[in-house]
Symmetry: C3
Subunit: 471 residues, 3 copies
């Protein structure tokens, strides 16, 4: 270009000026052409990306369309969930008295067993922004299915917060309130199963907590009869029970993500009973306390029988948990006063203390909204695979040890349901947050029992191993 | 630039010309530079958007990959569905005769009850573009599950349109044909439950409608025995029944979205019966008519017993519905002729009239493809939440009142199954399109019944409240 | 521009030079302007696409958020699956002996039946990258649900590969190992159902295959008792069985997609038995062999009864399959030695040969990882729809014919469980890969049976039609 200008403009003075102009002109042209070239190159690069946008738009439009259809149908959401617990139980040692408690007619020894303790399937979801439901069935004994949580209700209500109608847990006893997915031993301790048998009843209950989550409560009214296998209660007189529980975590270490906390709770249940000694009618007297021995047996080894004349009973529960990192210490106490009208009142009680420790550093997380154990998440899940170098790669899972002492007295005055003291130790291997293996050893001693086969007491040692998963 | 040209070209005439040229040149350069700057700025802005396209492409590619895999697997689609109906029933007034109809041995009064009327879980979907299936189980009495809709079939067939094989409803009686999710009272009226008991049978049925949807029909052939709890019918002689129904909405107000319509329908069922008086064999004589009293009781209060010698019966059903905005008027009539060969024929009949009205302005929508009630959608769902100002925000739901008069005669000649007249009123509160509360009061009078405990008639008043949800 | 330059520059020589320069200048300006115009146009076009990116980003961000939440929850995956088999069975010909085998007390003839052979619902998924589970329930007889596959376990383990704990199939007999979704006849042949009754037991099993998939194996240990309806085994003495199977496809035609292959397999099971003649105790002696006649009947027609004194038995199974395009030839042989201690040992055996051919050109695909039949995919699914021209469009589905000869001897020495020979033919119509119709005719002859109603043998002809679907 400079050359061309040189030819065009001969005057030297002009030439200088022109050359300056030419240089500027050249520079501007160069800049423009560079910019253009750059732009066109970018344009070309972007073109391939932008070309895909049309295709992407189709996909996204379809996705949005599906979402819109779902909303238009406004069907409730559905999440399918379930769990499976498979266990082996072995009784290497059982005294004759215990054999009669298990097999009252024959006195045969306590049989070992392999069983599905639970096979559950259910569905839950939201009906509306604040409406929820849950339906849950258990097929552990598949020929006799039973239901568990089966309710509908509302969340975010003023004052009542969450209000559920249907079959749901009575919040009496912390280890009853804990999910069986999260409990540390295979079975709940004696006083829990004796004073809040099978936990769930048909009723209505409010679930609340403060905004800071340091206090939570549950209040409910239920029909006392357990109808999980028949689905209906018949009777002109309801045997209503009223349950309330308040719990708090006065200490909760937010900074460590809840590795340290202190929980206290108190619960009370008043239940009316129809006073009938006869238990064959459709509306069976609910004043009866019984329990299995912290391992699943065929019979309830401790059993007061139906308490003739009992018109009501009141159960108090005290709970406390201290968690310090990998360690957890738990204690509960429950007692029950039974009003027998004509006869003198009865007093039954029980309690337990429990310590657990993670060997691999995890901790037992706490659900502050409902005041109970939450799900343990192993630092590293268990796995064992061939790695690419021909070796084996592995993950350890989480390992926990625990010990528990529990006692229960169902004997008072003329009633001899029995007294039992159990010591149990556990080794728990968490494969993942949703699968684990529990190993329990339970040794127990029973006394002050109505004579069965001539025996009023006995002792046993049982061993259990359980494979668990939930989804 | 103008300056530069001024230096270059001294001749004034030329200068003018050159300046014009220079101005034009300048203008062009300016325009080019502006355009470039604009373009580069836009380019830069778009760059950030375009940069994301690569990332978006990944997500979309993954989404498409998943979709492709699903298609490649060509698994049938699966939608999990279910429902839960929890109710309380109370009988504040029941005469001795009614007590004996409920408890023939003891004459105990009719018990109140709390029960899960239905707990259902199922799965449905498409096997192929025109192939469908549905499997549905009921766990309302969980220890004795039963199945409901359990079929497979094809849609879009020539002539037959939809053809289903398996357990499905017989289209006899509009309120039988209505889903229990959509019926206005808690239980169907007497003649429906008496002449089409439990609705579903194993069989094959065609479902069709005209393109304009103003006429629809169903034709099917079924085994008469209800096998919902055992899953099998044994017997060398099938007791087949043939059912056909044609329905039409001669008036349907499209412009208001179906707030006004007039429905008429006629259905007929001929069923063979094995004539055997003895009902203990595997193939039980199906000629027997019975019903509960429009609330769920333990016994069937009206009951012809097995009709010895009956070799067949024919049931006719007439249906009509008039819907005008919030108001709906319904009437049905059903009668049955029983052929007893040696003995003279029997004639039983029944019917009902019903009126319902939404207080909140909604209407009962109509499904014109199948000729039955569709799902009510409240204008505003029920909710109650704290609002951001510290007050309470609420939604009303939909409110409906209804009244029904029904009668049934199962007494003719030597047969005294009983006659019953019921009056029922209802108050329905729709929380959402998928959850609601029904409140029913039923008063009934029974006469001309075989003597039970010496009584041939009686009267009762029952009260029911039901919480319902489906997903 | 040329014109303008002409005015500005009068010198002819310069003019020429200038015009050349001007032309070049013009050309450059033109190019630049064209490029700019093009760029701006493209920019504008892209703008509309790019404008959507923001909107797309929102959707994608939401999608990613959902995915992230799912991962954070790290819930196990859940796939709901199931199947439904509905069948009619007819026995046009049955001799008096067979009638007594079916109805030992009355000798009534074999009843026809309509039944749901299977209604299954289940859930399966992954707990972790290598952890899996499956829960499956059968409601074919809905009042007595049973479980099928119900296990948890790990994949990709070193040596053991897949290891499952829970209720799962014992790999004894190819047609037992085949899914009932894929078997060619309605029911398995006599020796399969006699020597591996109901297939599944609670136990632990390893599933492996070579990387090339030409060899696969299964090894497991199980409790012998079938607890599918009660969910538990009680007994101090386990009756354990040990099963192993190795299978290979020495010939497998990869190039045709597996239309040609040759399979051989050998399996062995040793099972202990408690030797007790008495079968009423909780731990029933598992040494008993029985079977139905290749169609579902009420009774087991061949039956050794509980073999008193039997303390163990060993069953061997040999399998072979040759597939050449549409043709498949199958043969199996199984025998069992029973150790009776005091009494002499017993020997039972059986086998079958089977040929099947697709008339429509498909083939029976093979699963080389587990050594069994895979799912047939029709070339064209069955459908029948009105096309747009007013005619009917249709798809044929896949059609297959098959024949089978089987025999079984459960009679040896003092035991007369019976001998049976069956000939069966089948016509199978595959609607889709997930739905089909089976038509079977079975003719059988029984001899050497314990006398029942005075009969030691008999013959029968049965006809079955089954509608099947799975999802």
């Amino acid at each position: 270009f400079g050359l061309f200008l040189g030819l065009v403009l001969p005057n030297p003075n002009m030439l200088l000026a022109q050359e300056i102009g030419a240089e500027e002109l050249t520079a501007r042209f160069d800049r423009i052409e560079q910019s253009l070239a750059g732009l066109m190159q970018e344009q070309q690069q972007n073109q391939s990306a932008t070309n895909n946008v049309a295709q992407i738009e189709e996909v996204v439009a379809k996705y949005l369309e599906e979402e819109k259809e779902q909303k238009a149908a406004s069907r409730p959401t559905v999440t399918v969930f379930g769990r499976m617990h498979l266990e082996g139980l072995f009784f290497p040692e059982d005294s004759p008295g215990v054999d009669y408690f298990e097999n009252p007619l024959t006195g045969d020894d306590v049989e070992d067993r392999i069983q599905f303790r639970r096979i559950r399937l259910g569905a839950q979801g939201k009906i509306s922004p604040t409406g929820i439901y849950r339906v849950e069935l258990d097929f552990g004994n598949p020929e006799t299915p039973t239901f568990r949580d089966t309710y509908l209700g509302f969340e975010e209500l003023p004052v009542l917060q969450t209000l559920l109608i249907g079959n749901q847990k009575r919040p009496l006893g912390l280890d009853a309130w804990n999910s069986n997915t999260n409990i540390i031993f295979m079975e709940r301790p004696l006083p829990i199963t004796a004073f809040n048998p099978n936990f769930r009843r048909i009723g209505i209950q409010s679930y609340g907590h403060t905004e800071s989550e340091n206090v939570n409560w549950q209040f409910g009214m239920f029909e006392s009869s357990d109808v999980k296998s028949v689905g209906r209660y018949l009777g002109d007189d309801l045997q209503l029970c009223y349950v309330g529980r308040v719990a708090s975590t006065p200490w909760y270490d937010q900074t460590s993500g809840g590795r340290g906390y202190f929980h206290v709770g108190v619960a009370n249940m008043y239940s009316s009973a129809d006073g009938d000694a006869n238990s064959i009618s459709a509306h069976q007297n609910q004043a009866r306390f019984q329990t299995r021995p912290e391992l699943r047996t065929s019979s309830q080894w401790l059993d007061t029988g139906t308490l003739s004349g009992a018109t009501g009973y009141d159960t108090l529960g005290l709970e406390t948990v201290l968690n310090i990192g990998t360690w957890q210490f738990t204690g509960e106490y429950l007692d029950t006063w039974v009003n027998r009208q004509a006869d003198s009142n009865l007093f039954f009680d029980g309690g337990y203390v429990q310590a657990a420790c993670f060997l691999t550093g995890e901790h037992e997380p706490w659900d502050r909204k409902t005041g109970r154990l939450s799900r343990v998440k192993p630092f590293e899940p268990f796995f064992l695979v061939n790695d690419w170098r021909g070796g084996v790669a592995s993950g350890l899972g989480a390992w926990q040890i625990a010990a528990r002492y529990s006692y229960l007295s169902l004997s008072d005055k003329d009633i001899h349901g029995g007294r039992e003291q159990n010591v149990a130790v556990a080794l728990n291997w968490y494969w993942t947050a949703h699968s684990k293996v529990l190993l329990d050893v339970v040794h127990g001693r029973i006394s002050d029992h109505y004579p069965v086969g001539g025996y009023t007491g006995g002792h046993f040692t049982g061993l259990g191993v359980r494979f668990m998963m939930d989804f």
